[in-house]
């Protein structure tokens, strides 16, 4: 039996969320990411999320993964990573530099996480699970546009090129699986994508154990994200 995910925050947290949303000079910087009041207000019900919210949330995931005793070692690429990979490719997009400044060896991580923006209209999420040899793709709208084929192909190419560049040898993709996890909660794709990445970073195996949240939690999740971004730290999960 798993503990139930709450459908609302505590009353005092809700009050803080309201006051953050009303603060016209709100600004929070996490690592190299930043959320300002006009970004934050996108977490009000029904609004579209932008890259500032999504990438700051990723920075919070990175922070949490650095605390001793963190369940998984992770890397998070911001939402421009996949745009560059799909539009320009590894070489022209200079993606080899993306792990240079931060000196990240993605092959030593348990999982590499990244949000994907499709057509400036939809958010999805992907994970490269190094331990389980899986490329996982998550879309709250069930991939109606059929984007996953190209995504799996591009990510495989990325792994090969990054391995060649950093290790000087070919990457062995044998035994690697492409896993599309069909979820259909039909709404709130940006929140869904962030919470999917959060669950994976936390150590949950979404492929085998499924999600512990659903469409009914999205309004709580929006407020939780305001709360977490404002305090610059993720809350402990249920």
């Amino acid at each position: 039996l798993q503990p139930a995910v709450p459908t609302d925050l505590k009353p005092e947290q809700n009050q803080q969320v309201l006051s953050h949303l009303k603060n016209p000079s709100f600004v929070r910087t996490v690592r190299t990411e930043e959320v300002r009041s006009d970004d934050l207000s996108r977490l009000r019900p029904g609004m579209w999320l932008n890259d500032a919210i999504i990438n700051t949330y990723g920075a919070l995931l990175l922070d949490r993964a650095e605390v001793p005793g963190a369940p998984r070692s992770i890397h998070f690429f911001n939402s421009f990573f996949y745009q560059k990979l799909s539009e320009q490719g590894y070489d022209k997009g200079m993606l080899k530099r993306w792990t240079k400044r931060s000196k990240v060896d993605i092959f030593e991580k348990d999982v590499v996480l990244f949000p994907i923006n499709l057509g400036n209209a939809h958010w999805t999420a992907a994970a490269i699970n190094m331990k389980e040899k899986r490329i996982e793709y998550y879309d709250s709208m069930g991939d109606r546009g059929g984007a996953r084929k190209a995504i799996f192909r591009n990510v495989r190419e990325y792994l090969q090129k990054e391995h060649q560049d950093k290790k000087g040898s070919a990457f062995n993709l044998s035994g690697w699986e492409d896993v599309f996890n069909p979820v259909n909660n039909g709404s709130d794709c940006g929140v869904f994508s962030c919470q999917t990445l959060e669950a994976i970073a936390r150590g949950r195996d979404l492929v085998n154990d499924g999600f512990d949240f659903g469409a009914k939690h999205m309004s709580m999740m929006r407020k939780l994200m305001v709360f977490e971004i404002a305090q610059g730290k993720l809350e402990k999960r249920w």
């Binding site: 579209w48 999504i54 400044r101 939809h122 709130d188």
Partner: protein
């Protein structure tokens, strides 16, 4: 105007090297060259910066030139977002060198 594109192999901070003369002039005046590469067509725009110039000044000038609002634009250095209030010094960049920042357009989705 195109910059001299000489890729550097090693190091984590240098993107491209200006010509020797230019590099010395820059170094003597404690400045560096910043190239912003536009996302849609790769067009390069060069700026000469002091070590302590906040990047917001460059981003605003760049945005004005291309008639866009700076709030809709993002600027990345080696995959990491460059914050408005950051400076070359804070990035641990060096005078006399040249650096490339990628311009991207802010994304949204629902």
């Amino acid at each position: 105007m195109d910059s001299q594109l000489i890729s550097s192999s090693g190091g984590t901070k240098v993107d491209e090297l200006p010509s020797e003369d230019e590099a010395e002039d820059l170094k003597a005046s404690n400045k560096l060259k910043l190239v912003i590469q536009r996302t849609n067509d790769g067009e390069k725009t060069e700026f000469i910066l002091k070590m302590t110039t906040p990047f917001i000044k460059v981003f605003e000038a760049w945005s004005k030139r291309f008639h866009v609002s700076p709030r809709t634009q993002r600027f990345l250095f080696q995959g990491e977002k460059v914050l408005d209030q950051s400076t070359p010094k804070m990035m641990e960049w060096k005078a006399g060198r040249s650096y490339v920042i990628d311009n991207m357009i802010g994304q949204e989705g629902g």
